[in-house]
């Protein structure tokens, strides 16, 4: 039984280990420092502690540290280095690979993060848990650079807590040469869901191993909102998925990048920056095909990641400086050039490589933009109903 327990809880155990690691890198918690300074006789002790801290880190600016809790590979090294030079401080990053992981770690009591970069729905739950610090917009003159379309979202009306960082689209990615050869449409979810197209692609298609994303794609194809919660519509979506499933190779959320690059998989339901990555890798490997992304005409899901201040962060001043720094088009553009993420910053466009800037999956046109939707969080009852549907889909 121990083995089962261990395998089921391994992710949590790993996370716990990461917690320990990150804690050791964090400065003294605020309340501790404050309470010490209240007592005159403890001041020498505090000085001594500070001195030890400074000696240990071997830097004169040991106290000026910004703790950034960010997605894996979600900022360019050059950007970090430039900010460190500008603010004469150090940026310490911790990473997560999905929102659930980040939420779970914070729920487990991780503290000391100045800045976090959650996706819309995860940010909403942080706001409702009262875990975030309101922004001081007077410190963010570059906020004017952000495209209005990405401000004032339902997750944070009026942007009291959040500033858009970058976004990802969930769309269709495909092997351009193969799709041409098979003469298949690439502008519609039909190619993912309709057996008449899939017949030519049997075993060469993967879809995301994500309940919400796959359901959203199916709902969009059926003409509903991605946030539709009508159970009858969900059942229609389930039937659509079950009908298409025999033609798909797998539900896959990570190795599809490699499979696209190698040429084993020709069509995916995936994330825009993963597809961008697959194309870069394919070109690097000298493949004779390109991997291209397209936004289906029925619409797609947009996941907007925003910078927010966590209440436990000791340096909101540095965090504000960092946000304003990232709002500078040049810095924001570096990320897009690196990973092909969508950029909500109008000022960034001039610094973006032309081949990326002309990629409609990275910069959707106005018309396509109107068909993009951000996913709202489901309540616990809806989550359980969806999980039941998902089990049925996977079991059939």
């Amino acid at each position: 039984m121990g083995c089962i327990g261990a395998s089921v809880f391994a992710p949590f155990i790993l996370r716990q280990a990461q917690d320990e690691r990150s804690k050791s890198r964090q400065p003294l918690p605020m309340p501790f420092v404050v309470s010490l300074s209240n007592h005159e006789r403890l001041v020498p002790l505090m000085r001594g502690l500070l001195l030890i801290l400074m000696l240990c880190s071997g830097s004169a600016h040991a106290a000026d540290v910004l703790h950034l809790y960010n997605w894996n590979n979600y900022i360019s090294e050059e950007t970090i280095a430039r900010f460190e030079a500008q603010c004469a401080c150090r940026v310490v990053q911790d990473y997560y690979s999905d929102n659930e992981e980040m939420l779970a770690k914070l729920a487990a009591g991780a503290t000391g993060y100045d800045l976090i970069v959650p996706t819309g729905n995860a940010m909403e739950s942080l706001i409702r848990q009262n875990a975030l610090r309101p922004l001081d917009k007077g410190l963010l003159p570059n906020l004017k650079n952000i495209d209005q379309a990405y401000l004032n979202t339902a997750f944070d009306p009026g942007n009291s807590y959040s500033v858009p960082y970058a976004y990802t689209l969930t769309l269709i990615g495909y092997n351009r040469e193969k799709m041409r050869e098979l003469d298949l449409p690439v502008d519609s979810w039909a190619v993912i869901f309709e057996p008449r197209h899939l017949e030519k692609l049997k075993g060469r298609v993967t879809v995301l191993d994500s309940q919400r994303e796959l359901l959203a794609a199916a709902l969009k194809y059926l003409g509903y909102s991605a946030n539709d919660t009508d159970e009858a519509h969900w059942k229609q979506a389930r039937d659509l998925i079950i009908r298409a499933k025999p033609y798909w190779a797998a539900f896959n959320a990570s190795s599809y990048i490699k499979e696209l690059t190698v040429g084993n998989i020709w069509l995916v339901h995936g994330y825009s920056n993963d597809i961008f990555q697959a194309d870069l890798d394919a070109q690097k490997a000298g493949r004779k095909f390109r991997i291209v992304a397209s936004i289906p005409k029925e619409g797609a899901v947009l996941a907007l990641d925003s910078m927010v201040l966590h209440k436990s962060g000791p340096r909101p001043d540095l965090a504000h400086r960092f946000i304003d720094f990232m709002l500078d088009g040049r810095n924001s553009a570096e990320l897009t050039n690196l990973i092909g993420s969508g950029n909500p910053n109008r000022d960034a466009l001039q610094y973006i490589k032309p081949e990326v800037a002309h990629n409609p999956a990275v910069f959707p046109g106005r018309k396509q933009q109107a068909r993009l939707e951000m996913l709202r969080d489901l309540d616990r009852h809806q989550r359980r109903v969806l999980s039941r549907i998902w089990t049925e889909i996977k079991l059939r």
Partner: protein, 309 residues
């Protein structure tokens, strides 16, 4: 006889020392099991009777606003039993675990026998070779199967070439129940070989000589002497394979196709995707009960066999 008067002082000291040693030696592992197995187990049982929280975790037992107050409930159990689909996932996983165990057993038995009957020197080397795969990470070994079974691989080409020659449709080896089964067997084979080997190694060769002298054929010697004696090894090996396979989620996640969900995946999904800890706990408890039931059945079968064998 009055006990204490005849025990000498040094002897009493020895007894106390032995008792102390027993506690010092068994204390830490006992504490470890208590902290990391019994207590989490109890937490899991308690969690299964709660409501899921709005943001994951558990709904609060006490709340300022009575409307959000959620007490204790049997709802998750009702949900589990009212729907045959979860039972189906269990049945499917148990079949997968049984198949893996049987294949491991048939592959491991001859190997373990071979090792046990080899000369001492090569025996140690062979045991080392059996353990060697553990030197590389489990996930890397599973990922390696993606390459071995992928459509571009030599194996896939060979199989599909043969099928083509027979005029049959090509098959996809990767992302299939076959891939899951192969990797499950691959990963768990050493867990079957080692207990079998430790058992077989201890068999007294003179028993086989005696059987031969009494006129038993080679097959009879195996079936009437070696096999019954090796039953404890078979049972511990089977338990070491069956139970982990039942809870495995990584292999179906990586190598499975669109229909290869097992209980492990379902439980993982409850904690990470659905954020439904109570239902995840309920599923884990049901899994524990299923394993205990199967172990009890196996033990009864073994007992019956042992009584006439």
């Amino acid at each position: 006889m009055p006990g204490c008067s005849c025990v000498t002082e040094p002897a009493r000291k020895l007894v106390t020392a032995a008792r102390l040693t027993k506690w010092v030696v068994s204390g830490p592992p006992f504490l470890f099991l208590l902290l990391f197995f019994v207590i989490p187990g109890i937490i899991m049982v308690l969690a299964s009777f709660r409501y899921p929280g709005e943001f994951g975790g558990l709904a609060p037992l006490t709340a300022a606003d009575p409307a959000t107050l959620q007490g204790v409930t049997l709802e998750t159990y009702r949900f589990f039993f009212s729907d045959p689909i979860y039972g189906q996932v269990f049945v499917k996983s148990i079949f997968m675990a049984l198949a893996t165990t049987l294949i491991c057993l048939t592959m491991a038995y001859p190997l373990a026998l071979l090792i046990a009957r080899s000369p001492k020197k090569s025996r140690d080397l062979m045991v080392l070779l059996v353990i060697l795969p553990f030197a590389s990470n489990f996930l890397i070994r599973v990922y390696a199967w993606m390459i071995v079974l992928g459509p571009q691989s030599a194996l896939s080409r060979l199989v599909n070439g043969l099928l083509h020659g027979l005029g049959m449709e090509p098959v996809h080896l990767l992302f299939s129940p076959f891939a899951v089964l192969v990797a499950m067997v691959y990963v768990h084979l050493p867990f079957m070989v080692l207990p079998l080997y430790t058992n077989l190694e201890k068999h007294d060769p003179s028993l086989l000589d005696a059987a031969q002298d009494l006129g038993a054929s080679a097959w009879q010697r195996f079936w009437r002497v070696t096999f019954p004696l090796s039953l404890p090894g078979i049972f511990s090996g089977s338990a070491l394979v069956f139970i982990p396979v039942l809870g495995m989620f990584a292999v179906p996640d990586i190598l499975g196709g669109t229909g290869d969900m097992l209980i492990g995946n379902l439980i993982k999904e409850q904690f990470l995707g659905t954020r439904d800890w109570p239902f995840g706990s309920t599923l884990s408890i049901m899994l524990t009960i299923a394993v205990l039931l199967i172990a009890w059945l196996a033990a009864r079968l073994a007992g019956r066999r042992g009584s006439y064998g």
